[in-house]
């Protein structure tokens, strides 16, 4: 008996992560990109004009967005090489399980890049991010879910076009804005020591966008992958 949606999704995610673990191309590219971005912003920053506590959240989530795109780009391009996607589409599993599997693998990828980027931001900007590790992890997870939900869908749409590398950011970035704004705002309030209720509102907004994006993208995915 063929696996159910979640089991099939986990098989696909495990396969994607095994490939990434062996090749390590996308992860290293994204991690190096994130670190370079943080360093470049650091040298361009005038600490006498802008306090680190005001700048760091924007840098963190801006870098997170762009470095995440590198992994998302690869998500479906590895299926296009040798048309491996046809083997997945020909399997007796739901289209949603392919989307979910890809999204889970992308989530692990994006989270792993964050694990490198967050301490780097603390190191360069001297902000106490890791003091608030638990709340920050929640913000990071919620923003990663939203980013991955949208990015996985657009990666599938863009991969069949000749301008895939350009099209993915152009399609995705406008949809990342509702993710980055609450993430940055919640982080800023966390670092400023504002009352928890202020940050909670932004987290609820982030969660709402996550739910909308995950549901909408999973429903739309079968139509983007069918010829």
């Amino acid at each position: 008996m063929a696996p159910d949606t979640l089991s099939a999704a986990l098989l696909i995610a495990r396969k994607d992560l095994a490939i990434e673990f062996r090749t390590r191309t996308a992860f290293f590219s994204a991690a190096v990109f994130a670190l370079l971005g943080i360093v470049i912003f650091y040298f361009a920053w005038d600490p006498t004009a802008v306090a680190s506590i005001d700048l760091a959240p924007g840098v963190l989530w801006g870098i997170f967005t762009f470095s995440g795109l590198l992994g998302l780009q690869r998500s479906f391009s590895l299926e296009q090489a040798d048309r491996a996607i046809d083997a997945l589409l020909g399997a007796p599993i739901s289209r949603e399980s392919i989307y979910l599997g890809k999204a889970i693998a992308n989530l692990v990828f994006v989270t792993a890049v964050q694990v490198i980027a967050i301490p780097a931001v603390e190191l360069f900007y001297g902000v106490p991010l890791l003091e608030h590790a638990a709340v920050l992890a929640l913000i990071a997870l919620l923003s990663a879910i939203g980013l991955v939900a949208v990015g996985t869908l657009f990666s599938a749409m863009a991969v069949n076009t000749k301008l895939a590398e350009m099209l993915l950011p152009v399609l995705s970035l406008p949809f990342f804005v509702p993710i980055v704004i609450p993430a940055a705002q919640a982080t800023a309030r966390l670092l400023a020591g504002r009352p928890a209720a202020e940050g909670l509102g932004w987290l609820k907004l982030l969660l709402a966008f996550d739910i909308v994006f995950v549901v909408a993208c999973m429903l739309a995915f079968p139509y983007t992958i069918e010829e």
């Binding site: 063929a2 098989l11 095994a18 062996r22 590895l78 040798d82 491996a84 083997a87 399997a91 007796p92």
Partner: protein, 243 residues
């Protein structure tokens, strides 16, 4: 053009099957019937609609006209249809970074095959590739990759195998080995549709032969009506001279 419909209980049956992409007709009015153990060799120039027809039969593409059933499931089918199909193309459909065994085992798991690892090894043994099981696919030759691809497509014991130019890029010995394996599959009762440009290899396996041009089947014949000695001439007449 003969219609190719037969009495009996066909494993593949289509009537007026067609597919449009916007205003362009890729396949039109294809009617055929294949029973268990039949093999249709489908010839035609590039752009004739062969791959599109194959993808419709595989449940990968939704027909826009006509009807059809494959393995008792009405097209475009769904999970049940896909479970009965093995699809092989000139692209290997393999992940280069994974080993031959991992590629096949993944497919076995996705098809719900019991003991997927053992099934993957058996499939590789049938292809005489058990000693390369743990080798990353990217390190295998083109011919070996194609054999792994066949092992992947048949690991779940499909009733129907659809092959899209499987001989592409294979040397003589690779083609011979592939032909022998496909003959064994056919003898075991697997119904096959084989799209190829290689007339001799195709006819060696075929119980039925067809020529497509401009999206339509312009000739379809079965059994003794196929004459391998003259078929190339017949093919050229239909394809080059618009008979």
């Amino acid at each position: 053009m003969s219609d190719g419909s037969r009495a009996g209980n066909p494993v593949i049956s289509t009537r007026g099957l067609g597919r449009r992409f916007g205003g362009r007709v890729a396949v039109s009015d294809v009617t055929l019937a294949l029973e268990e153990g039949d093999c249709l060799a489908l010839f035609g120039p590039n752009g004739a609609g062969k791959t599109t027809l194959l993808r419709m039969l595989a449940g990968l593409l939704r027909p826009t006209n006509g009807t059809g059933t494959v393995a008792g499931v009405e097209l475009p089918g769904g999970l049940e249809l896909r479970a009965a199909i093995g699809y092989i193309s000139h692209a290997s459909m393999l992940y280069a970074a994974l080993s031959a065994r991992e590629n096949i085992e993944l497919t076995a798991r996705l098809f719900g095959v019991r003991d997927p690892r053992a099934a993957a090894m058996r499939a590789l043994e049938r292809m005489a590739l058990a000693d390369r099981a743990e080798m990353p696919v990217r390190q295998l030759s083109r011919g070996m990759q194609q054999r792994v691809s066949i092992a992947r497509a048949t690991v779940h014991g499909p009733r129907v195998v659809l092959l899209d130019e499987p001989f592409t890029g294979l040397d003589d010995s690779g083609s011979a080995a592939l032909g022998a394996h496909l003959a064994a599959l056919r003898a075991a009762g697997t119904t096959m549709v084989l799209v190829t440009h290689q007339i001799a290899e195709g006819l060696a396996l075929a119980t039925h032969a067809a020529i497509m041009r401009g999206g339509a089947l312009v000739r379809l014949e079965a059994g003794d009506a196929i004459d391998p000695a003259t078929y190339l001439t017949v093919y050229r007449e239909h394809v080059s001279y618009g008979a």
